[in-house]
């Protein structure tokens, strides 16, 4: 009886081990699909979950390096105005595009405190503010800040903060990018039109108040 029980137990252990090995292999395969760490140029933008819940509208885009690699390098697209954009050349060197945009019903539904987490990251070594534009005239009030990460001596990432009375937009582009082509990314990959480089939004009233 004892021998029979031992046999059963051994076989049961063998079966469990085999099934567990299969499960472990599957878990390992899933772990390998996780995107690799993208360095300091990648900002954590998800700390403000209360903003997402409070916002009447939101846009959330997460394009990591694995996904960007899938886009063919020789690819063009047309803007709404019919202008051809060489997307392939713009995205070469990019390792991530992340967008968070929140729109609110009323003014004052977000404040600087909601940005403390992002600003703390932008104060870390390597980040420098490139553009700070305050536009206060008319209905299109906006405070636009563009930060650049240059820790390795080249541009490793860009952060854009666009603060409007009823809308807050955060864009984080990780990887090397030609600044002249930055504006061409607007409207692509879910990046909203922010008027960077005069591509829209700014009608001449915007004043660069500080450049670092």
């Amino acid at each position: 009886m004892r021998t029979k029980l031992d046999t059963w137990l051994k076989l049961l252990c063998l079966a469990v081990a085999l099934v567990a090995a299969g499960g472990a292999a599957a878990t390992d395969a899933r772990a390998q699909q996780q995107p690799p760490p993208q360095g300091a140029a990648r900002l954590q933008l998800d700390n403000e979950t209360s903003l997402a819940q409070r916002a009447s509208e939101l846009i959330d885009v997460n394009l990591d390096e694995n996904l960007l690699r899938i886009i063919p390098k020789r690819i063009t697209t047309k803007t709404d105005e019919g202008k051809t954009v060489d997307v392939g050349s713009i995205i070469t060197g990019l390792r991530g595009v992340y967008v968070r945009s929140y729109a609110f019903t009323n003014e004052g539904e977000y404040n600087e405190g909601n940005l403390s987490g992002v600003r703390a990251q932008l104060r870390s070594p390597g980040w420098a503010r490139l553009v700070n534009i305050v536009k206060k005239k008319g209905d299109d009030q906006m405070h636009l800040e563009v930060y650049m990460m240059t820790a390795t001596g080249r541009i490793d990432g860009i952060a854009i903060l666009a603060l409007e009375p009823k809308r807050l937009t955060l864009v984080n582009i990780v990887g090397t990018i030609d600044l002249e082509k930055l504006s061409q990314l607007e409207g692509q990959f879910g990046i909203p039109e922010l008027g960077i480089g005069g591509s829209g939004g700014n009608d001449g009233d915007a004043k660069p108040v500080k450049k670092q």
Binding site: L11, L14, D60, V61, I71, I75
Partner: protein, 180 residues
């Protein structure tokens, strides 16, 4: 002889059954999302069972738009029609957060948009061999759709470049089958 045969048979059955169990759980996320929409908004979906068999129907049944859908391969669609989706927090919490809890980290959250007039769209992706699984949830004021398709790299690249528009186009294309 018989005594050792039965345990051995048991081992074979258990080992052989494990891929079956894995396959059964493969489509679990889609079903979980459909159930989540049902519980969150207290609504009921309508599946389209014939869509799964389109490939074996006669040619005359397979309409132009249906043929377009066939290219999606692994195609799953649930429709919620003429029901109330206006309550954002019918069962508490944000549907976006609950979707994330249901799908991540297995699925990658590519795109989420919530617009007052156009409703909500959530697009998740997952590599699947040389293709990509895409799960799109579109929630309007009175209707909702949960769609899972397989895209080849070329079509997937289009989705990446313009996630909002392409998510809606894929959903429109898939749901137009029903109107044929």
């Amino acid at each position: 002889m018989r005594r050792t045969f039965i345990p051995l048979l048991l081992v074979v059955v258990i080992v052989a059954a494990s891929p079956v169990v894995a396959a059964a759980t493969k489509g679990a996320e889609y079903s979980a999302v459909v159930k989540l929409i049902e519980s969150h908004y207290r609504v009921k979906h309508r599946g389209i069972p014939f869509v799964a068999n389109l490939g074996v129907k006669t040619a005359k049944v397979v309409s132009k738009s249906a043929r377009r859908v066939l290219r999606f391969g692994d195609f799953k669609l649930a429709l919620f029609e003429d029901q109330d989706f206006s309550g954002r927090d019918a069962t508490g919490g944000d549907i976006r957060v609950r979707l994330r809890q249901t799908l991540e980290p297995e699925w990658h959250p590519l795109f989420a948009v919530r617009l007052e007039e156009e409703g909500q769209t959530y697009t998740y992706t997952k590599p699947d061999g040389d293709k990509f699984k895409v799960l799109i949830v579109v929630i309007g004021q009175r209707d909702a759709t949960v769609l899972q398709v397989n895209l080849d790299p070329e079509e997937f690249a289009k989705l990446l470049m313009n996630p909002e528009q392409q998510s809606r186009e894929l959903t429109n294309e898939a749901t137009s089958v029903e109107q044929e």
